[in-house]
Subunit: 383 residues, 2 copies
């Protein structure tokens, strides 16, 4: 069957990253780049770092890496965790599993606290494993399952067991999107990347360090050079990156942050919450409920009704010009994933509900036409 409306559809990135980017932000990439050692380049770095801190809302110091979020996470790990130390990795999905594999490969004594994909981490279970650990690696918004883990409860319970524990949180898809209060919650380092909630093209990672934890940073000698964030943090605080940064992306990021900083964090969080709730409501109306019990505002990870698979849904959306994602291996068929993480508003969320209706109808799924659209609009509320 011919996918509906293909050539006349507007092409959209509705995946949980990379995301739609504001045209004005894209234009910054096309401007002549300042040299990163020039006054203009130094000012651009300082401005972007200050805005990253403002978006977080706590007085953490930002390091911008020229890497993906994974690179930034590795930098946080090796710069906060001495050689051979004990690391606990709480995992319940693809990305949290990655941090455990990373810690193992880097030679840390690694303890895994695992839940099946789609389930929520148990704060007490994680805390119990942390009693004699140096560092906890925990994921806030698990992009593979759509779960928003209770980072406040997990960090709180773990620190209650072990006040010296360093908590590094993968906030790659939650930063700027989900409620996040690291100082209050006891999160020492927050990691994210440019192509997620900050709605900038990929290429930059961020780590935001609590002021106190900075005293415990260790040179990453033996575990890395490029991603040694002790050097980066010192350099960036002095106005410079030790290595050449993707300066155009940094300028673009700064521009993208202006929009996010134009409202209080709580307004931003509530808005993204409603958008994701709308996608989940649309999914429910189509017989495709959310996988996770506690859903992330960054992404709706939905289970299509059997025998329809996640790959089939994502493929049909792609045929319609809409770039969503299936699940991640080995759960490609369990779920599909749609998102308004980037430069997208409540009216785009409503449009995605329409897109899902058309996709499901063309795949032969029975449902009442209009149900998903109406459910999404109700979930979006009156603003």
């Amino acid at each position: 069957m011919r996918p509906p409306h293909l050539p006349l559809n507007r092409q959209r990135l509705i995946a949980p990253g990379p995301v739609e980017v504001e045209p004005q932000v894209l234009l910054e990439l096309a401007r002549p780049q300042p040299h990163h050692r020039s006054p203009e380049g130094i000012a651009a770095l300082a401005e972007a770092r200050a805005k990253l801190t403002a978006l977080l809302g706590d007085p953490y110091d930002a390091v911008i890496t020229t890497s993906s979020g994974t690179g930034a996470f590795e930098g946080a790990l090796v710069s906060l965790t001495p050689e051979g130390a004990k690391v606990v990795n709480a995992q319940a999905g693809k990305f949290s599993e990655r941090w455990g594999e990373m810690a193992q490969r880097l030679g840390y004594r690694t303890t895994l606290v695992a839940k099946p994909w789609g389930e929520l981490l148990d704060p007490q279970e994680v805390a119990d494993a942390c009693r004699d650990a140096h560092t906890l690696l925990v994921t806030h918004s698990e992009t593979s399952t759509g779960a928003l883990h209770d980072l406040a409860a997990i960090a709180g319970a773990a620190k209650a067991q072990n006040p010296d524990l360093i908590v590094i949180a993968d906030c790659i898809t939650s930063y700027g999107v989900a409620e996040l209060r690291p100082a209050e919650w006891g999160v020492d380092a927050v990691v994210s990347g440019s192509q997620k909630g900050t709605a900038t093209p990929p290429g930059l990672g961020f780590v935001l360090f609590d002021p106190q934890v900075q005293e415990r940073m260790v040179p990453a000698t033996g575990r890395g050079f490029y991603l040694d964030l002790t050097r980066e943090l010192r350099g960036q605080k002095a106005g410079n990156t030790p290595q050449t940064p993707a300066i155009n992306l940094i300028v673009a990021l700064s521009r993208a942050l202006d929009r996010l900083l134009s409202v209080p964090r709580e307004v931003l969080w509530a808005e993204k919450r409603r958008q994701a709730d709308a996608l989940v409501a649309a999914g429910e109306a189509l017989g495709a409920p959310a996988w996770a019990a506690r859903t992330s505002p960054a992404v709706a990870v939905l289970r299509p009704p059997a025998p329809l698979t996640g790959r089939q849904v994502a493929a049909r959306l792609a045929e319609m010009g809409q770039r969503a994602l299936p699940g991640q291996a080995p759960h490609e068929d369990t779920v599909f994933r749609v998102s308004t993480l980037g430069y997208a508003d409540r009216y785009d969320a409503l449009g995605i509900a329409g897109i899902l209706e058309d996709a499901f109808a063309s795949l032969g799924v029975p449902f009442t036409r209009g149900a998903a659209v109406s459910a999404a609009w109700r979930a979006l509320g009156e603003g």
Copy 2:
């Protein structure tokens, strides 16, 4: 009252031109321009002209002017109508009035056949006035009122009265959007502009000339030089423009036309018809019915419920980051105008229904929440 969601909304052009433009089309504007006399420049002009003819669907010859649509219309008029000839202007809105004023200022003996704004032209009344006329100036989609005049009936009746009549149609917002069959209907010249249905930035006008009418073209000596399309048509058929064209825009236009030409005209027309019907259905659900009895697929021109005015609605939409339009003077307050004319799809039409609900709610208009969204989605049909 604070307009809803302003800083977090995606900014949209939802006016009946200039319109949203596909990012790939915008990128063409940033590419190094070919010289218009180089083989590459000559090929670009030929390609764009051929695609304009393909979009029309009849073997008319296209002239591209570096001007707005008004300039192109003037070029058609002066190149098809000798000095002092009798011109009939059928008018029922701002744009059709402009053609009458133009003909008068250019010294033509001008007869006006006028209907009040919002009403439809009467084909027989127009035809009766054309008995001894040389040229009829008629507007297909009247962007100021949202009326789609019955161009087939008007041209047919006029030519039945006067087979030698030359019919120049303002198809500025109907070309590529509304059903248009000029050869069958007896329309000799079709005029449009780049910032409308072809979803390109402003700067180019188009005239498509019937092969037969070209034998009756007259040099515009005394009535114009730049807009003398006898020179332009001859030059462009030979591969060149006599004057310097906006070559980057021509290359961009060519790219924009690729998307429109990827489906049969009938599919394109039906899709834009449904989108406009959805906007009208949303308006009806909000107590803001269409002004015109026969609505244009290019624009929904809606009458807000008293005491709300068109200017108030357009101003609120602008505050929400959505660029629509009020009515045109002197009807600024009678109506407001929204459109999916450009690079916008059915999901964008659905989103605009949501935008209108939010705007009307914030303006204190009583209605059942969800009614406009549901009505729009129903009007969009199953594709």
